[in-house]
């Protein structure tokens, strides 16, 4: 829809606008990343890292060593985020995008690591989101877009999504093919692995999002954090995790601390 209704004669403006609104409402399911008029672009750029944010992580070819001296190679690293929000903790003003909108960050698919949203211009000093899938969307049947089961983030033997997945190989693993697989999910009471992630900006700075500019927030996700603090997760002891429950909650506790805002770029 490239037409500009505000250039029409006033008496035609209302019916045409209504038609537009009706059209968009009817199509809501098909519209991706709806932007309201005054919102502007904000991109969260996720980068996989190891060794406490110091080193970029690469798949397949590079061997890393976790805090338990277990060497490993990463084959898959992905997770769902939703309810993305930017807040100014001084003024207590914030902006939250549509909470039903899900993003799958899959580091095998570099485009998916750029989470593009629309926010109202302003100055914010906190970024937050929820890592996981809410209970309703876990049981809503056949879904599309980020929640399409073709993404391999849906359990088939029990209804529910895998919120985060880290897979690879390690000589420490006793599983077939020396694989290790951590599939974290669970939405029922007592097993809810959804995690709200609150991130501040370096040196107590913030980000000013302005009209007409694309603001990029660089966020790292550190694989090392999956293995420790506060819970010890050792590949040798437990190479596979594929069910919700106690261990999933521990791993989720660990990886909820894996994100760091490294900086902001205005493009």
């Amino acid at each position: 829809m490239n037409q500009k209704p505000n250039r029409l004669p006033l008496k035609l403006f209302v019916p045409v606008l209504l038609l537009c609104a009706a059209t968009f409402t009817g199509c809501q399911k098909d519209v991706k990343n709806e932007l309201k008029g005054s919102e502007t672009n904000l991109t969260i750029r996720f980068t996989p890292v190891v060794q406490y944010d110091s080193v970029r992580m690469y798949f397949d070819t590079t061997t890393y060593t976790n805090r338990w001296s277990e060497s490993f190679i990463v084959k898959n690293f992905k997770f769902y985020i939703r309810a993305i929000r930017v807040t100014n903790t001084t003024t207590n003003q914030g902006f939250e995008i549509d909470v039903t909108k899900y993003y799958l960050v899959d580091f095998r698919d570099s485009a998916s690591a750029l989470v593009k949203i629309g926010v109202l211009p302003g100055t914010y000093n906190r970024l937050s989101f929820i890592l996981g899938v809410d209970s309703t969307h876990n049981v809503s049947g056949a879904q599309t877009d980020a929640l399409d089961p073709t993404h391999g983030m849906f359990w088939t033997w029990t209804t529910g999504y895998i919120f985060a997945k880290l897979e690879g190989t390690s000589p420490s693993s006793t599983a077939a093919g020396n694989m290790f697989m951590y599939h974290v999910g669970g939405f029922k009471q007592g097993e809810d692995a959804n995690k709200e992630i609150q991130l501040f900006f370096p040196y107590n700075t913030g980000v000013t999002v302005s009209n007409g500019k694309n603001t990029v927030i660089d966020v790292t996700a550190d694989v090392y954090d999956w293995f420790g603090t506060p819970h010890d997760i050792k590949i040798a002891q437990k190479p596979t995790l594929m069910t919700p429950g106690a261990m999933a909650l521990q791993v989720a506790d660990n990886y909820s601390k894996m994100f760091t805002v490294m900086g902001v770029k205005i493009e």
Binding site: D30, W157, T243
Partner: protein, 346 residues
Amino acid sequence: MTVKWTILIVLFLITGAVLVQACKKSGDGGAQTKPISFDIPAGWPAPHYNFSGNPLTQQGFELGRKLFYDGRLSKDGNFPCASCHQQFAAFSTFDHPLSHGFGDQFTTRNAPGLYNIAWQPQTHWDGGITNLEVQPLAPLTAPNEMAEDLNNVLNKLRADASYPALFKAAFGDENVTSQRMLWALTQFVGTMISADSKYDRVKKGSASFTPDEQTGYMLFQSKCSSCHTEPLFTDNSFRNTGIPVDPTIKDYGRMRITRLPADSLKFKVPSLRNVAVTAPYGHDGRFLSMSQVMEHYNSGVENGPTTDPLVKNKIPLSINDKFYLLAFLRTLTDSTFIKDSRFSQP
């Protein structure tokens, strides 16, 4: 100037109309689709799955039917849904304790019959699936069942000569998506209603039980119907009926889903509709006949920490009781359903 605006507005209206139409097509099947009604049999409760988000159409149903019988949903082409769900056995597997899957493998469970599953809050013996639409993903991807990858299946369908047109007929355009495939399968399987057995006709007043069947019905109501509750002949609960674990399969049932020790060895109470054609019985098919199942309740129940209170003292059944019960259970066979051409191989 006026002419220019008029043209612009007309263009606008057309664009809008086209978009609205496009939405209709992707949303509810478009003008060309023929709706199917989902009729709830008299006296039955509301179904758990009601198609409100997946409008039933003839085209969606027929697409689901073709998919259900298509071996290409499996890795080697040999295992359509119908390989373990045979219509003459009320869509269970005839004469197989455990169903067979890819690479000469057994599964760990007896394939349940498919009928009235829109009334099941959960599917699978352990109730792991809570939304009917996503159930097909389980057999489709299990390495000992159809052993396929969801994306591979979709690519096979996209490359096929007929499927894109069938997806278009059902959903408005040729996009072959997982959601549409699952919706179509749900339309087919979810509308398998079995409610035309002799029992149903007796309830409607258009037939009557023989004296043996009537005696069996009385026995059934006093000894069986706490769990196999009418009219669906299941209360959809999970119970340990004193069947000890098979040491080679090590299937602890519901506990796998809830991770609660209290659910160890609990399995879903199966509906007894069509029971006479769905042998063998039990979650692992260990009972070859209805008589064996009844003898289990009479003498075979093994008690453990989670054994159901209703069976822990066994259910005494004399030879006569069993005879009458068998006569009644045979009235639950819906011969219309197992021959219904709507559900047969297209």
